[in-house]
């Protein structure tokens, strides 16, 4: 949805569409409590600016919400969904907790590692994929699973993983948590 990046001349600015969403988010909270919108606005920023939160992007978010930059850094570094380093176009978040482990999550992780030649936390050399192992995503009954952008891929087999990676590579699009699934 939000693909019109506005990083011209190093100027960091949301699209008009995103700014309207920010305004609407702030309206959900009482006067003076606009900081409450920080987590959703950071998701929006990550989707708008290449999938990660650089310091200038975080400073921009701080200015939008009239809070101090440190208040944004504190939050961005606490939660696991915010990337503080550049990532590939598609982040493969593979659950590794109990139920998924019981159903073969380790094989899924190993398969992705071998196919892409990367380890956990790394990005493939073509910049397409980042592999991230994560904790329980609430999909334990359809384990093993991985999340890519907003979408849950469940009851995985190695074949299904191959199909998914092929498709994502062909689409060659950045996936974000804000995608419509």
């Amino acid at each position: 949805m939000l693909n019109n990046l506005n990083i011209m001349n190093n100027e960091i600015k949301f699209s008009a569409e995103a700014l309207a969403i920010v305004k609407q988010m702030i309206s959900r909270y009482p006067d003076g409590k606009q900081k409450s919108a920080l987590l959703p606005v950071l998701h929006l920023a990550q989707a708008e600016f290449d999938g990660w939160l650089s310091v200038p992007v975080m400073d921009y978010v701080a200015s939008l919400l009239s809070i101090k930059p440190i208040e944004v850094y504190e939050v961005a570094s606490f939660y696991s969904m915010y990337n503080l380093k550049p990532v590939g176009k598609c982040t493969l978040e593979v659950c590794r907790t109990s139920s998924c482990w019981l159903m073969g999550a380790e094989d899924i992780v190993r398969h992705i590692q071998n196919r892409l030649g990367i380890k956990d936390g790394q990005t493939s050399s073509d910049g397409m994929f980042t592999l991230k192992t994560v904790e329980c995503l609430g999909s334990c009954g359809t384990a093993p699973m991985l999340q890519c952008g907003a979408k849950y891929h469940e009851n995985l087999t190695l074949e299904k993983v191959d199909e998914l990676l092929d498709k994502l590579a062909t689409d060659n699009k950045r996936t974000t948590y804000l995608d419509i699934v």
Partner: protein, 449 residues
């Protein structure tokens, strides 16, 4: 026919839309509550129902509601806890995805009962797509006059919003959730004051689980008395159980509290037995933090009585021989499962999720993960098993929030019931790579179910 109160209409096509939902009796509780009942009368019905919080702790909901402070001129808030991050738990996601209007309806009825004019649903960030489903349902409810000002012409006003998190298990703890909703790190607050006195923005707040809020709908529709007759003893009503692991039919089941655990595992109406004709080895009955129990203790209590799916029966025998209903995250392990390795995934989880405010939790979780890693790698010693025991015993009761305990209990239970497996890992490390667990290692027949 099993009694279903929440998922009875789940199979109806289009039940996620307001029209189909309403054609099937949806929003009746809002009509009844706002037009015929006082807020106090609703709280009373919830008390009579015996409903207990479905988020994990099982605290009586009516009592919690009656603690809410009501100073004049100060707003009160209802916040729905849809953070659902306890490993093994996926019932709230299921409910919100399939029947979003049930949660919206419950939020309206409950907000009216509590005198709130603003309410939030805090949902874990990973469930972004579910937040969209909820937002669509909320938009439909506004359009139909169930939300906004002067709802159904009764003069009652309510705004309901969805807030997404950023990925952090600890934000399921209610005070961490409130911090997060205020746009901060999810660091739990020191209690007291409790949220009922000073919660969101310092105002009186009730935090309830998705399933708890949903259960208010049948309670208002049919009366607390009718609800209290379902279930067993102090475990009234129905409960959503998320079943996962080595079973034939994983999924979310609505059960009447009090059915035998054995029936739940083996009946075709529920889990359908163990996959691939294997034997049952162990169960984590209520999400990762509750004690794991071996087959003989999960099917029967130490006293030899059939173990039932209820708060009381699952915890019978205390932590020596019992466990807890918790969040209803029911993880089943077959005979080939390594309890040691499963525990490793839990210790890694809790280390990853500790917010870091309290030393026993921050340091203890990290230390336990390291030792588990060492044991799994074949470098452990018998002393390490004792050390694990020692560390876990020094966390309980010494932390700001219960995450510390949640991290300690699974370690204690795994050692208590499966110490021999830890010893096998330590004493015969060379065989670990090929052999899945102790029974195989020692040519011992697994305990029959």
């Amino acid at each position: 026919m099993p009694t279903k109160l929440l998922l009875n209409n789940e199979h109806i096509p289009g039940i996620n839309t307001l029209q189909v939902y309403r054609n099937n009796g949806g929003y009746a509780s809002v009509e009844k509550a706002l037009k015929q009942m006082t807020p106090e009368a609703i709280v009373e019905e919830v008390k009579i129902s015996g409903l207990r919080g479905r988020g994990g702790a099982g605290f009586p909901t009516g009592m919690k509601w009656s603690f809410l402070a009501k100073p004049a001129g100060v707003p009160r808030y209802l916040v729905c806890n849809a953070d659902e991050s306890e490993p093994g738990t996926f019932k709230d996601r299921y409910l919100m995805e399939k029947i979003p209007h049930l949660l919206v309806e419950g939020m309206i009825t409950s907000s009216y009962a509590l005198g709130c004019n603003t309410a939030y649903i805090y949902i874990r960030g990973e469930y972004f797509y579910v937040s969209r489903i909820l937002e669509n349902a909320i938009a439909e409810a506004y359009a139909a006059g169930y939300l906004g000002s002067n709802i159904l012409g009764t003069g009652y006003n309510l705004n309901l919003y969805v807030q997404v998190g950023g990925g952090a298990y600890i934000c399921g703890e209610e005070t961490a959730l409130l911090e997060s909703l205020e746009g901060k790190r999810g660091n739990p607050r020191i209690k007291p004051p409790f949220p009922a006195i000073a919660g969101l923005y310092g105002c009186p707040t009730v935090v309830n689980n998705v399933e708890t809020i949903a259960a208010v709908v049948p309670i208002v529709n049919n009366g607390g008395e009718a609800y209290s007759k379902i279930g067993i003893g102090k475990s009234t009503g129905t409960k959503l159980i998320s079943a996962s692991g080595h079973i034939n039919k994983p999924g979310v089941y609505e059960i009447e509290l009090g059915i035998p655990v054995e029936e739940f595992i083996y009946s075709d109406s529920y889990c359908g037995g163990i996959r691939n004709g294997k034997q049952l080895k162990a169960v984590v009955a209520g999400g990762s933090s509750v004690p794991v129990l071996p087959t003989e203790l999960i099917l029967k209590t130490a006293a030899g009585q059939p173990r039932l799916m209820s708060y009381e029966s699952l915890s019978e025998g205390g932590f020596q021989t019992g466990t807890m209903l918790g969040s209803g995250g029911f993880i089943v392990m077959d005979e080939d499962t390594s309890i040691v390795k499963n525990l490793y995934t839990f210790t890694r989880f809790y280390h990853h999720e500790s917010c870091g405010q309290c030393s026993p939790c921050r340091e203890g979780t990290g230390w336990m993960e390291k030792i588990m890693h060492k044991i799994l790698d074949g470098h452990g010693t018998l002393k390490d098993v004792d050390l694990l025991w020692d560390i876990q015993s020094k966390i309980e009761g010494k932390t700001i929030c219960p995450l510390g305990e949640a991290a300690a209990w699974p370690v204690a239970a795994a050692i208590r019931h499966f110490r021999h497996e830890f010893e096998a890992y330590v004493m015969q490390p060379s065989s670990i790579k090929d052999v899945k667990h102790y029974y195989r290692l020692n040519n011992i027949e697994p305990i029959p179910a």
